[in-house]
Every structure is written in C-alpha cells, then in structure tokens.
C-alpha cells in the first residue's frame, strides 16, 4: 500500500471516529404539553421525508364488555373523514401531498401513522390532528366499518391458526381483558353501533395519556410549535380502566376445537409470563429465542435430529405476558408433536442452555435490534412502544446493552420459573374424531365447535333471555313498582282515560333530516290516532277498537283498511307509550325480571325485562337514582337474530301529576331514526270517539303491511 493510500486510510478512520456513528436511535427531544400530551421529535436530515405517529391508549383492553370490537373499528374510522372534511376530502388531501395515513388498534393501544414529504410538515400535522381529535363518524362510514368488521371476524374463523391463537389466549387469561379477542366476536360486533364507537372515541382518545412522535428532515422547534398549534386544544382525560394482574390460567386443560374433516391440526401450548416491565422480561426474551426462534433453537432443531418445525412466541404486555409454543401437524402426528413440544419445555429446564448458547443468543438479539429498527418508521414505533410501557426515552439506544447484561443464570432462573410444561394450556384445532382419544389420555378434554367464540361474552342485560331466578324476579317487580310511583302512581296513571300529545318530529337517514309535526291521541280502550305532517303531506294511522285504517296524501283522502295483522300492530302501538308500559307492569301475568345494570347516556340504570301475559317482551331501563323510565327496547335476544328498536326518554315534566317525557329519541340498531320533542301534553280532555272513526270512502283494498 502506498504512503498516500496509508495516509488516506488513516485519516478516513480518524474522521470516522470523529463522526462516530450516532448511537442507534439517538434519544429524541421530548416535551410534555399542558394537556398531558407527550411529544417527541427526531431531526434526521438524510431524506426529505417526515413520519408522524400518534399513540393513544385505546386498545381492546379498554373496551367495556358491550364494546368488544369497538377499538379496531374506531381506529379504522379515524381516516374516514373529520368534522371539517368528509371521507373523500380527507383522502384527497392526503393523496395530494403524496402521503399516506393509516390507523390500527391492538390489545393495548391504537396508533395513527402518517408518512409525508418533509416540506408538507404543517399540512401533515393539521391532518393528523384533525383525524385524531375530530373524526367524522359518518353514517355510511360507520355502517361500512361495522360490516367490514363482521366480515373480518367471520373470515377469521376460517383461519385455523388464528382460531388457535384466540383460544390459547382465552385459556391462559380466563376472565381477563388479555384473553378477549381483539376482533371481538360475531355477537359483540353485531351489537355495536354509533353509540359504542363514538363513545369509545370520546372516552379513550384524550391527550393526557397519549403520545405524539415526529421524525424526519424537520426542525425540532418548528415541530413543537406546530404540535402545540394543532394538538394544544385537545382536552380531557382518557378512560383509564385499570388492567388487573391476571389470575393465571384455569387449567392446565386441553381445549379441542373441532373442525370435522380437517386433515391437519394447529397446536398451541400456552404459558403465562410476566409483563414487559418485569425484571424477568429480558432474560425471557433470550430464553424464548433459544427455545423457539432461531434456526438452532430447541424447537426447531428437535430431538434426535428430527425437525419439529415448531416455534415459540413471547408477547409481553403491560401487566402480564404469554409464551406460546406453536406448530401445525398432520392428524396422525398430533399426539407425538404435543409430547415433543412438552418434552422440549421440560428439557429446557432440566438441561438448561449453556453459557455459550446464552452468549450467542444475547449477541444475536442485541446486534439485530438496531438493524431491525433502522428506518424512521421503526424508530418512532420503538419509542412509542417504550414510552407506553414507561421506559426511558433512550430505551432503544440502551436495549442492546441491556440484552448483553443477561446472564446464563438469569435465563436458567426464568426458565425454571415460567417454563412449566405440566401447567401449559393446550389448544388443538382440528378434527376431534382423529385424535380426541389420544388427547383424553393426556388430561381432561373440552371439545368445542369451531363456531364457538374463544371467550363467551356475557350477553348485554337487554339481550339476556336466560330463565330468571327468584331474586331477579323479585327485584324486577320492586324496581317496576318504584318506577310507577315515581311517575305518579298506579292510581293516577289508571285515571288517564285519554291523552293528546303534540310533538315536533325529526326523521334521520343517510345523513339527511326531515322535520315535521306529529299528534298522537289516545282514548281508552283501544282508540288511537297518529297524525304526522311532513312538508305538507299528512299521514294518519288510526285504531278504533277492532278496526284500523290509514290515510295519506296532501288531503289525507286515500284511505286503506288494515287487516287483522295490521290491527294487532296498532294495538301494540297503543300499548307502547310510557303510561301503558308502566301500567302493564302491574297486570296479572306480567313477568318482571331484573337483568342487570347498564348506562343510558352517562346515567346508570337498572335493566328490567318485562314479558306480558300475551308473551310480549320488552326491556325497560329505570334510572337508578330517579327511577324514571329512561328507555325501553324491543329486541330478539341477540343482535344476530334481528333488529333492536330502542326508545330513549328525557326531559321529564309533571303534567297533571303524571311524569311525562317531553323528549324521545328512537334508535334502530343503535342508529338514530327519529326524535320527538313534545310541544303539548293534555290528559282527560274528553276526546270524542269520532276522532278515531274512519272517514267515508274506501279506495284500494286492505292496507298493505
């Protein structure tokens, strides 16, 4: 080598020392805004791009029991319009910048990610803030998102690996949010509507526990200023449902999900593990790598030279984690595979890894970390995850060195503590007939059909059709009696012989509204007239004893007679006002059963199922404090079985000693269909029978149902 070349080489080496590579993922500049939002910024001038990510602790573990599946749907709706841009406009604006925006939710949090050119920083920040804070929740978008979610859940039942993963989580975390499928179930998703999705956003998408990360060719101060401008007005405190430490698996047990005719089976062995912050976490990462990740891992290498083609995964959440050994096998290999997997777990404890093996794994894991996280998107994602779990801002930078500090004793200790083959939950998804006897020799087997959800979500109180117990019946009766008293008392209610209620009506549908008026007149017994006027078009429906008729048109002069079914429908409407519903609670033969608690708006309520002697079922919601009837619902017992019509009552005022709602909102499957604002209520005015009589001429035949 020439002297000149030697000099160049030496100087290059020296210069590179001076330019010592920035330590991997140099910590960002981090500030916390007054609203609690933590903002992190990295300036990286190498490429003219910009990455913005928002993390909100709005994962499926924050869902209330009746919100299962809402986290993912809410996240999906973030990019489908805001209050200032409809879905098409939002998409067009992102595309015009050449950018992309995507949102997703997992077990613990939701993220919104945007990739843009650095030159578009200001617009990008505004778009991301708008989507996070002010999503539109348009009617069509919600309907499509719910339909998509149902399809996704249905399709997931066909992917046996996913089915196995869901069931093993449910077994390892029984009764715990970590055990509930992130997608929800068919039943739970079918029961979701605007109320749940928008409510989830309202309660969970708040700044106090949220994180905002920006990386790219940007000036940090400018970024902070823009973040303050666009996210500074974001207010409130997020729902922070505490996630308890799990109680541990119920088993060990064996769950066999039957897929008749399958020729291969998915096998999972699940074990509980500590949380991400636990002292054992890093050593477990190393142990998992040695057990089932690398090509030389125990599961891969097999015993006696056989290749198991099994692998292991370790998921460490905040409160706890789960280690899963997984594989797929032909039916005749299933029992043998299970034995070998359990055998490897035992062997890991009995014949733990050597110093050399641990050193090799440490080396691999520590050195691969910077490579796996080389790009902006990965680096930002790493910081967000670390910050969510409460790690310091230099977590990514220090992670490789922390891995190197794991000793062989640490690995042996965690294996002894957590790799308990005898208490692993076993899940097999395949043809039960092929190997159930063999599994039965291993332990008690629970066989469930493929269609069964991994976790039985309790039906909402309103959908509960189970036979009520004695206590529930007594409680239901008592609650109804209190409600009756709160509304004026049975005697006063029975004293109402006629009523005349006028209202302003608004109809809702496909983003449009139509306003009109309605007058509802009742007279005991069995006389009812409902006259509605919309844009000068009058429609009348009437019941007069055993007859019913309707009329419509500008002059309401075309009249149709109802058949017997039409009469029955009108009689049901007659009995459907709050007054008659409350009186029905006192009738002999009516069964009242307390079904649980729920919330209407933010008011806690008692849910009481009412079934009349005529088998008419209705669900009543009584405010727990005032005992007012705040809602009632007609449903089929399951959102999959049929529609649910809910009527919400508010603005109660006393009228002649009777408490009467001056506002009503009707929802069909959670979507608002109409509102009624009462303008006048009168009782016992002496309505004449002629009001309900069918006017003269008949045209057409019987009323079409």
């Amino acid at each position: 080598m020439s002297p000149r070349a030697r000099t160049v080489r030496a100087f290059v080496a020296f210069a590179l020392l001076l330019l010592a590579p920035r330590s991997f993922a140099a910590p960002p500049v981090v500030r916390t805004f007054d609203n609690g939002l933590r903002v992190a910024v990295w300036s990286d001038p190498r490429l003219p791009v910009l990455q913005i990510q928002v993390l909100v602790p709005a994962g499926s573990t924050q869902e209330k029991p009746r919100e299962r599946g809402a986290a993912r749907i809410t996240a999906a709706l973030l990019t489908l319009g805001t209050t200032s841009r409809d879905a098409a406009q939002f998409t067009t604006e992102v595309e015009r910048l050449g950018g992309t925006v995507a949102a997703s939710a997992s077990l613990e949090y939701a993220t919104l990610s945007g990739s843009f050119r650095a030159a578009d920083l200001e617009l990008a920040m505004e778009l991301m803030a708008d989507a996070t804070i002010r999503p539109l929740f348009g009617d069509d978008e919600i309907a499509n998102a719910l339909a998509d979610a149902l399809q996704t859940v249905a399709r997931s039942r066909q992917i046996l690996g996913l089915v196995a993963d869901e069931h093993v989580s449910a077994r390892v975390f029984p009764g715990h949010p970590y055990g509930v499928p992130e997608l929800g179930t068919l039943e739970s998703v079918a029961g979701l509507g605007r109320e749940q999705v928008q409510g989830f956003h309202r309660e969970c998408y708040r700044p106090d526990r949220a994180l905002l990360a920006i990386a790219g060719n940007v000036d940090a101060e400018r970024v902070f200023a823009l973040a303050e401008e666009h996210f500074g007005d974001w207010k409130g405190r997020a729902r922070a449902t505490p996630i308890p430490a799990p109680g541990g698996p119920a088993g060990p047990g064996i769950r066999l999900v039957d897929v008749p005719g399958a020729t291969r089976a998915e096998i999972r062995l699940g074990l509980i593990a500590p949380g991400r912050n636990a002292p054992d976490a890093l050593a477990l990462d190393v142990a998992n790598d040695l057990l089932g990740i690398g090509p030389a891992s125990r599961l891969n290498a097999g015993t006696s030279g056989r290749t198991l083609r099994a692998y292991s995964t370790l998921a460490l959440h905040r409160e706890a984690g789960m280690l899963v050994l997984a594989t797929a096998a032909d039916n005749d290999s299933v029992p043998g595979m299970i034995d070998r997997m359990r055998g490897e777990l035992r062997r890991f404890v009995a014949e733990p890894p050597s110093e050399g093996e641990v050193a090799a794994s440490r080396r691999t894991l520590g050195r691969s970390f910077p490579i796996d996280n080389e790009g902006l998107i990965s680096q930002v994602g790493q910081w967000l995850s670390a910050a969510f779990h409460g790690f310091s801002d230099d977590f990514a930078d220090r992670h490789p060195e922390r891995i190197q500090a794991v000793t062989v004793e640490d690995v042996r200790a965690v294996a002894a503590r957590w790799f308990d083959a005898d208490h692993a939950e076993l899940v097999v998804v395949g043809a039960a007939s092929a190997f159930e006897p063999a599994l039965a020799r291993m332990g008690k087997v629970e066989v469930v059909p493929l269609a069964a959800p991994a976790v039985q979500t309790a039906p909402s109180p309103a959908m509960d059709l189970s036979p009520p117990g004695v206590e529930a019946l007594e409680r239901g009766k008592a609650l109804a009696a209190r409600a009756l008293a709160a509304h004026g008392g049975a005697a006063r209610l029975r004293g109402i012989k006629d009523s005349d209620v006028a209202s302003e009506v608004v109809l809702y549908g496909r983003g449009q509204t139509i306003t009109g008026t309605q007058r509802e007149q009742r007279r005991e017994p069995w006389q009812l007239r409902i006259e509605s006027t919309f844009r000068h078009v009058v429609a009348i429906q009437a019941l007069n004893g055993r007859q019913a008729w309707s009329a419509a048109g500008a002059q309401a002069d075309s009249i149709l007679d109802a058949d017997s079914l039409g009469v029955a429908e009108m009689r049901a409407v007659f009995l459907g006002d709050p007054l008659h519903v409350l009186l029905a609670c006192t009738e002999t033969g009516t069964r009242l059963a307390w079904r649980g608690e729920d919330e209407i708006g933010v008011r806690p309520t008692d849910v009481v199922e009412m079934v009349t002697a005529g088998e008419q079922r209705r669900v009543l919601f009584f405010d727990r404090e005032t005992h007012h009837l705040v809602a009632m619902e007609d449903n089929q017992g399951s959102p999959l079985a049929g529609p649910a019509l809910r009527r919400l009552f508010g603005e109660y005022r006393s009228q002649q000693g009777i408490l009467w709602p001056h506002f009503e909102e009707r929802l069909l499957n959670g979507e608002r269909t109409l509102t009624l604002k009462t303008t006048q209520v009168r009782f016992n005015t002496g309505l004449a029978g002629a009001v309900f009589e069918r006017p003269g001429q008949v045209t057409g035949g019987h009323r079409r149902r």
Binding site: R9, F11, R46, L365, P370, E374, G375
Partner: protein
Amino acid sequence: MKGTHWVVAVGLALIAGPAQAGAVTGDARLVTLKNGMRVILAPDDRATAVDVAVWYESGARFERTGKTGQAHLFEHLMFRGSERYDSGEHRRRVRAEGGSSGAYATHDFTCFYQTLPSDALELAFQLEADRMTGLELTQEALDSERRLVADERARQATPIRRGLERLYAMAWNTHPYRGSLFGLERDLERLTLQDCKSFYRARFGPDRAVVTVVGHFESEQALELARRYFEPLKPAGGRDQALPADKPVDAERRAVEPGVTPVRIVMAGWRGPRRADRDWPELSLLATLLTRASDARLTRALVVDPPLCLAVQGDMDSRRDASMFYLAASVAPQADSAEVESRLFGELGRLLVEPVGEEELERAKRQIETAVWFGLQTSRGRAQALGTGQMLAGDFQDLERQLERIRACTPADLQRAARHLDPARRNVLWLKPSQDAMPTSDPGGRP
C-alpha cells in the same frame, strides 16, 4: 507539507457532513475488479447496519429452452452449502451476528443479500465469495428444492400474478420474458444435476456479478475485502449471445383464463420501453396517475361512478430488455364486461387528446417521490435501489435519473408516452371464475 495540507483538506471534506439530503446515491461509486466483478460502494455513516448483496446475471432470461426454472431454483440451491459451509449454515452464521439474509430471483437476475452489523462485513464477503464458485450441488439438494419450488408455485399463484405471467406470454413471441419464472413443470422434472452445474458455472462467476455494499462501513476496508475475497475468483467467461429481436405486436391479442379467481378480472398489457429508455419513467408516472388515488382517472371511471369494478391497479413492470405497462380491474358481479372495457380503454384514449391536469400530475409525482424516499430509509432499501438500477439499466444511479425525469415530466411528455398504449398493440386477458368458463385461446395467447 503539501501532503499534510492535502490530508487536512480530505479530512475537512469528510467532516463537512453527510451526503446531500435528498440524494439517492449519495457518495456511491463503482469499482471494477480485475476479474470483471463490479463493486458498488455506498457508505453512510449514519446508517446502523451494512447491507452486502450480490446480484448475478442469472435470471430466467438466461435459461435455455427445455431447462427453464433454474434461475428460481438457484435462489434456493445457493443456501445448500459448500465444501466449507454446511447446508443452511450461511443463514445461521448471518443470524448469529444479528443479521438477516434472503434472496430472490427475477427474469433478469438473482439477488442474494444480508444486512449485518458493520463489524461483520468480512463475514458477508467470506460467505458470498464461498458460494460464488464453491457451491456444492448434490442430487439430494436438487430433488428437495424441486419439491419446495412446486409448493411455492402453488402458494404464490395469486390471480394478478398469474394474469401478469399470461400477459407476458401473450405479448412476447420468442423472448424468454414470455416464460414463467418458475419454469415449466416438465422442464423442472427433467432437470438433471449436470444441467444445474452447467448453469451455475455459466451464470455465477464474478464477472457475472455486481456486489453492492451499502450502509455503515469504511470504503477502503470494503474494497480491500473485495480484492481479497472476490478478485482471486476465476471468471465464468464466455459472452452472452444477443437474443434475436422479438417480432413486434401489431394486432390486439385476447385470451380468457377460467377458474382462477372468485370474481372476474380484466387485465390489459402493452410491451413498453426498457427501463433505461425514454418513456419508461413517464409510463411509470402514468400508471400512478391513472390508478393510485381515490379519485384517480381509472378509479373514478370504473370504481366510483359507475361502480363497475371493485378495484383497479396498474404498474410499469421493470425489466432489462423491455417492460410491460399493465392495468388490472376486479369487476363487480353485476357489471357488463363490454362496458368495463369500453370505459377502461376510453380513459386511455382520452389521454391522447386531452392532456392531464397539472394538479393530478403533481400529485402523482409526489406519490412516487414519497414512496421512493421512504423506501430508501434502510441500508437494504438503498441497496435495492442501487442494485436494480445497475442490473436493469446498467447504471447504479438510475433511480436518481428516473426521479429527475419524473420531476421534469410535463403533460405533453405523458401524452407522448401514452402512445405506447396503442389499441393495436394491446393484450387483453380476462380471468373468470370457473362457472363462467369459456373456451380460451391457445396457451400462447394468440387470438
């Protein structure tokens, strides 16, 4: 003193800062070794890894008739060991250093890559040099990989991939591009160990290879390693015979393929210029403009109003000797096929008489640029850009030039490029569900 001043100047230049922001290739340079191997060095002191990839001129286009499928087969065989390393040991050693490795084959080249911590650079050179001329090919390895390839063929047969294969078969008469990368099943079955050894000797020498070294490393050290490990390797020698010119397409060709998709899919493809030629970047921009936005022309015409299709996509497939501009639309169950074609081709015809608007052109440019820049975030991504440029256009700075041309592209340039989409030269393929099966044209796709 002069030498000292020179050293200080070099040092200051090095200290001055990283490569100009926005530059694709940065400080990349190409060095040719004595045995013909080309080495592209692209250091980046801010990278956290180094990517070493070897690109061989061993794609499917180099296969002989009756011996198709070898290029793809070698994507797997190159990991089956040598005298020095056991089967699979390459991957294990890379992983042991914390790295990752992989390979893929195309019609023009195969690429073998690893991304590692910088201090494992020499290992990458050792491993690649070893298998470049020292691969141990056995009957057992051949038989085993042949079975795996059959599995892979079945798994990767998405409707669009199958459709694209068929379009190539229709659009070319004799060029090897008309064949599948997986090769013909009968060829694979008949392939012998000797065939494989011949292909290996002919296509995997250092003079058939380009090595890219990208990321955090010292250039002089890398060059020294290249000279130490690669330069002594004997070149494969020989010259590639030029392929005879393929007869141009002068009439529309149509075909129907039944039973491969749950919904109808219509695909249209045109032979296009080579990646290095004029109009390639313009056609690439046109594909983006036509399909990659919620209100892109074809999306509006076919998916939005009226909703004749469920989705539409398009691209400019990039190959060395020629490319294919293609469009594909999944057709809604109730839509009329003739109307779909009419609207699809009607929009293309409109391009010739009505220049695109400035705003939609700028949007498409930004979409491409943003995607390119994000693809260059990692050492692997940058290596991919440099290597494909070298292999397909003979220029590792090709992506830089493509971007310049895209930025400079005007509506008139797009109109000029759109003339390649001549109805008389198009190939139209309908993929239909099995219950809609109709007689198809001959396997060559000629009407």
